[in-house]
Symmetry: C2
DNA sequence: TGTTAGCACTCGATGGTGTTGAGTGCTAAC
DNA sequence: GTTAGCACTCAACACCATCGAGTGCTAACA
C-alpha cells in the first residue's frame, strides 16, 4: 500500500489533533475540523489503511485512533509544520535568560529552569565538563597469577575500579610494576581534555611485549576517565510530567520519576544521543526507540549548547510522546542561540568552575 | 479530663498501630494486639475521651480512629519508645557511608543518598556554606528624595536588591555617596564567615548622624549576605514519598513534589528549624505545625551535621505524619556520628569546595 | 473505481443499587 | 468502672443498565 498525499494529510491531522487533545481521534472529528472535502467514511477507510501500515493504533475497538511510534516518527521526520514563535514567546525566552549570576553551576540551573518554563516539559542538562579533573594515581593490585585489580584515582577522589582476568597469562609482581609505571607516567597529571587515544601508542611502546594483553586495560581507563564526571547532570521540573494526562497512573509515575532521580540513568539517556549531538543538531527519540523501558511512553529531544564554537554540554527535554514537537524544536533552537551568546561572554573570562 | 496512664497506653498503642498499618485503628484490634486486660468496649470509651481531648480523629463515623497532629505530638514528646538499632542496620549505615570521594559536593550527595536509603524517606541536605563567597560591591542608587535602591553583588555574581523608603528624609547625592563609601569599605572583600553584627558599629561610627536611619539598610545587608548561598540545597529520593499510601492522590503529589523542587521553598522549610538546630538537637515538625500548607500532611525531622565542632549544615528527612519517628531519630543520631567522623577527616585538609 | 450514507455492533464511561463488614455509640447488666 | 449486646453508619465493592462515540461493513451512487 502506498502512502499517498491524502494519507499523509490525514496522518498529519490526526497527530496534530491528538497532540492537543490527548484523546483518541475519530474519523468524524477529523472530517469536521480539517475540511478536506471528504466524508468521515472515506477517512475511516484511510485510517484503516494507516493502521494496517502501522502508523496508527486503536486502544480498543470502539475508540478512535492514536499514532503509533512509527506514526510519530513519520510526523516528526516529514509531516509537521515548522513552528513560528510569536513575538511574545521570544520575549519570554529573552527575559527568562536574563539573570545576574556568573557562577557556572548556577547559570546551568537557570538555563534549565528557563527551558522548562518555556517548553513546559522536564529538562535535563549536563554541566560543562570541568577541565580541572585530572588523574592523580593509578593503582594496580595483583590478585593472583591471572587477575589484577585496577584503580583509577583523580584529584577529586573519584575512583573507578575493575578486575581484569587474563586466563592464559602468568602475571607477576614484575609485570605489575612495569604496567603500573607505564600507566602512571602516561596518564597522571593529564586533564580529561588532554587524554586521547594517542596515549595508547605511548604505552604500547613502553610495553611492546604485552601490547595485546593490556589493550582492554587501556580501554577501560580511557572509557572511565572520559566519564569521570558523569554525575554532573541536573534535572529541572521533573514534576512537569505530572501535568500530562498520560502520566496519571501512580505506579508509572513512581517508576518514571524514580528513573529520572538516578543520575546514572540520565547519563545513559543523554549519552545515547551523542552521535547526533556532535553534529550540533537536534535529536528526537520517540517512545520505544528509547533503550530504557521506563521511557517507552516518553519522547526525548536533545540539543547541544555551546559557548562560541566549543560544545559545553547537552540540554534534553523529556515529555509525553504526544509532545508538541514543532514548538519544542523551535524553542530549543531559539534558546540555544541566546544561551550561546550568554555563555560566550562568561565562559571565556571565567573558567573557575 | 485527665490523661491518665491507661489513656496514654492506649494512645501509644493506637499510634504504633497506625504507623505500621496506615489504616484507621479500631477498638477491637487494639484490645486484641496489645493485651491490656480490658475489653474493646472499654477501649472504645477511652477512645471517645481521647477524641474529645483532641488526640484522635475519626475519618468518618463508622471508621476507626487516627491520631491528630496533637496526638502525634504527644506521642513524639512522651510516648514513643526509644528505637534500638539492630546490628544489621548499623552495619548498613556504615557501609552506605563508605565511599571514595573527597569533593565536598559529592560527599554531601552521598550522605543524603545514604540517609534516604536507610530511612526510606525523602532527604534534604544543605551543602556546607562556601567560605569563598564574598561581597564584591555594594551599589546604591538614588531614586528620589525619599527612596533609594540597594544592590549587593558578590564575586559569584549573586545579586540581592531592595528599595528603601525613608519618608521623613531628604536624601541627596552627597548622603548616598557617604553611605556608599561607608558600606563598601565595611563589607567589600569580607567572606560570609567574617561578617557579623560588629560591622554595624563600624558603620554607625562613620555615619553617626544618620545611624538610626541606616539601621534597616544594614540589617538588610546582613540578612541577605547571610543567606547568599541559599540555593545550595539538595533533595534526594523525592519519589520515596510515593511509596506511602497517604500520597496516592495525584494532585496532592504534584503539589508536594512541585513544592520540593523549588529550592526557595526548601530553604524556608529548613530555616524554620534553625533555632533548635543550633543546639545540635533533632527537631520534629508535625503536619500543620509546618508553616507551608503543602506540608500539612507531612512531618519533617531535621538535624545538624558537623565536622568536629563546626556545624556545616542541616539534614532533613520528610515523610508522612505517620512516619516511624523512633526509627528515624535513632538512624539520624547514628548517621550523624559517622558523618562527623568522615567529614572531620576530609574537611580540615580540603576546603576546596 | 472511488466515495458516501446507513446501520448494526463494540466497548469504555457513567451512575444507580444492593450487599458486606468493620467499627461505632448507647444501654443495660454485672 | 467494666462489659456484652445491639442497632446504626458508612465506605468499599460488585453488579447492572444505560449512553454515546466510534467503528467496520454493505449497498448505493457518481
Amino acid at each position: 500500500m502506498e502512502l499517498d498525499e491524502r494519507k499523509r494529510k490525514i496522518m498529519q491531522a490526526i497527530v496534530d489533533d491528538y497532540i492537543t487533545t490527548a484523546e483518541p481521534v475519530g474519523s468524524r472529528s477529523i472530517a469536521r475540523k480539517f475540511e478536506m472535502g471528504i466524508s468521515s467514511a472515506t477517512i475511516r477507510n484511510e485510517m484503516a489503511d494507516l493502521e494496517q501500515m502501522g502508523y496508527l493504533a486503536q486502544p480498543h475497538t470502539s475508540a478512535g485512533r492514536i499514532p503509533s511510534d512509527k506514526g510519530y516518527r513519520l510526523y516528526v521526520d516529514s509531516l509537521m509544520n515548522q513552528y513560528k514563535m510569536t513575538v511574545d514567546e521570544i520575549a519570554r525566552i529573552k527575559s527568562a535568560l536574563e539573570f545576574n549570576v556568573n557562577k557556572m553551576e548556577n547559570i546551568i540551573e537557570r538555563i534549565a529552569g528557563a527551558v522548562s518554563d518555556i517548553t513546559q516539559y522536564t529538562t535535563m542538562i549536563t554541566k560543562p565538563r570541568s577541565n580541572k579533573v585530572y588523574v592523580k594515581k593509578i593503582d594496580i593490585v595483583l590478585i593472583d597469577s591471572s587477575g589484577l585489580l585496577l584503580v583509577v584515582i583523580t584529584n577529586e577522589g573519584l575512583v573507578k575500579n575493575q578486575i581484569f582476568r587474563f586466563d592464559a597469562a602468568k602475571l607477576n609482581d614484575e609485570f605489575v610494576n612495569k604496567l603500573s609505571n607505564a600507566l602512571n607516567s602516561a596518564f597522571v597529571g593529564l586533564t580529561l581534555d588532554e587524554i586521547d587515544t594517542d596515549c595508547l601508542g605511548q604505552i604500547a611502546d613502553a610495553l611492546s611485549a604485552d601490547a595485546q594483553m593490556i589493550a582492554p586495560v587501556i580501554n577501560f581507563i580511557l572509557e572511565k576517565i572520559y566519564h569521570l564526571d558523569d554525575s554532573d547532570i541536573y534535572v529541572n521540573a521533573a514534576t512537569a510530567l505530572l501535568n500530562y494526562p498520560e502520566y496519571s497512573d501512580l505506579d508509572r509515575v513512581r517508576e518514571l520519576l524514580g528513573f529520572l532521580e538516578n543520575k546514572y540513568n540520565l547519563r545513559s539517556v543523554i549519552a545515547e544521543d551523542d552521535d547526533n549531538a556532535k553534529n550540533n543538531k537536534l535529536n528526537i527519540v520517540i517512545g520505544r526507540e528509547n533503550k530504557c523501558y521506563q521511557l517507552h511512553d516518553c519522547s526525548i529531544i536533545t540539543s547541544n549548547y555551546s559557548a562560541g564554537n566549543k560544545v559545553l554540554g547537552t540540554i534534553g527535554i523529556i515529555g509525553p510522546k504526544r509532545m508538541n514537537y514543532a514548538r519544542v524544536v523551535a524553542s530549543l533552537d531559539n534558546i540555544s542561540k541566546y544561551v550561546n551568546k550568554i555563555l560566550q561572554e562568561i565562559y571565556f573570562d571565567n573558567e573557575r568552575e
